[in-house]
Symmetry: C2
Subunit: 300 residues, 2 copies
């Protein structure tokens, strides 16, 4: 008899990551391939799960997907499970959930990539008393996934934390920002491409003691301060490619305390900020593990 | 036999509002008195409920309190139900919940004033499909109470939305801001006292077509944009004394759409923002009605 397992997909702008697992500790199979056209990508995903099911005698019960956005996540919408408006050719209004459900004949739970990452990290956290949790990714874009009262935040659309506005001192940093919608929103000032464009070099080639990182930490500290003042998370995880620059953590710890200026009366923040704002424990697997949990928790 | 009823207290910095009600539609008695020393205020509250209980043959089952902060709302804390650090003489570390429980011998549920207002407005909203809701008060201070997945947001401490940082163009507005902790945070730039100090006149004497209101709307629109990008509320209510200047609503609708610049793909925001960002339906009763609901929903 075939073993009951779960499938997970992390669908990114350039790469697609697929996993089959018994549960979050027992991964049976994993595979990474480039994200191509919607049709080819869906075919590659379906083929992987179909072939592995036969080869390893597995019965995939449910599938979870963490996907680039913007997505329509409103269950009452005709477009539920679709990508909405995107400049990515062919993906606009493409219904990921429906396509995969039809191809694999299993229930599919879909959420944004950053919500999946938040869920992955949250479920890997050791302190089970945490109710409010934040995951921020700083990479090609900036996004936030938030868990409040133990549930992911969706709302009217879904959070677009990268597009909050923060103070931009143009005298100190005349770089105008690169967001095509807002110019100097958080993503426009502090994403990987913004760093590259401001300093005329790839962000990962900038020396660790370069002033670039101090400025980056300043912008991120303002964003983190705003997050603390809005949802008061009990733990904040910072992931994404830019945060591979680990020297940023110390700079962010110092600067966030300066910006908050002891207003938030929390011993944890005031005395142990290095345990409050931390790197992902799952490293680059937060998203795929979150997609797996989406599948496992799906009761739709 | 005495009738079973609920008690509600809105404890403000200068005024205390008390109510006895059967439910949210049937108010039996209401009274307003000045907030004095902690001891005298507690005595006034207790005396009101005790006297009315005897006079009207009522049995107060539970009490709800919306209170100025900061408060310790961590159920596991020894200070649960206390005001924490405050410059208000005598109130520092004063345990409101315990004092009222001892005086009246009923369970007391306490939350911040702005969370109580959020709860009051949320429960008065006609569309019961709303899961994520925001109430912002703009008055002597600025605060936000948020309901996400149908529950109030607490977290590590509690939200302090007034202290988020927003862009401050010092060339256009050289006023430095008045927050003693952060100078030009949202509250430092846009609270009632900030308006009064910037324009050298009480905010309610400034003409409706004065540039003061356009600037105010700009700061509030940045804050609302940040809120939308962070928790994606389905409805935003703006209350507090400054919002009695109703001309602000139109200015905020226009400016918020400009700041978002069509990035958030919501027909509701793009086409009906005047139904999305609205005044309180309970006018100045949001807080006391929320305190009543705190009592009614208390299952501790």
């Amino acid at each position: 008899m075939a073993e009951n397992v779960f499938g997970a997909v992390e669908l990114g702008g350039t790469k697609t990551f697929v996993v089959i697992a018994e549960d979050k500790k027992n991964i049976i199979s994993r595979h990474l391939f480039p994200t191509l056209s919607p049709k080819d990508t869906m075919e590659n995903i379906a083929t992987f799960f179909k072939n592995k099911s036969v080869e390893l005698k597995l019965n995939i019960q449910k599938l979870g997907v963490g996907c680039f956005g913007p997505l329509d996540l409103n269950k009452d919408s005709a477009l539920y499970g679709s990508i909405t408006s995107t400049p990515k050719k062919g993906w606009e209004y493409f219904n990921i959930k429906r396509q995969l459900e039809n191809a694999l004949n299993v229930p599919v739970k879909i959420d944004t990539d950053v919500n999946a990452s938040a869920l992955g990290e949250y479920n890997h956290v050791y302190n089970s008393n945490i109710n409010n949790f934040a995951y921020i990714t700083i990479g090609t874009g900036i996004g936030g996934g938030f868990i409040i009262n133990r549930q992911l935040v969706h709302g009217l659309v879904h959070p677009e934390f990268g597009h909050i506005r923060i103070p931009h001192n143009k005298k100190k940093d005349p770089f105008p920002g690169i967001c095509p919608y807002h110019q100097d929103c958080l993503e426009g000032l502090a994403s990987g491409p913004a760093i590259t464009e401001r300093w005329h070099q790839p962000s990962n080639s900038i020396p660790k003691d370069h002033v670039a990182w101090k400025l980056e930490a300043e912008y991120l500290s303002h964003a983190i301060t705003n997050l603390i003042c809005t949802i008061s998370p009990e733990l904040i995880v910072l992931g994404g490619g830019v945060m591979h620059q680990y020297q940023l953590f110390g700079l962010i710890h110092t600067k966030t305390k300066m910006v908050l200026n002891q207003y938030i009366k929390s011993k944890f923040i005031q005395e142990h900020i290095e345990e409050y704002i931390i790197p992902p424990r799952l490293h680059d697997d937060s998203g795929i593990m979150g997609a797996l949990i989406l599948a496992m928790q799906n009761t739709d």
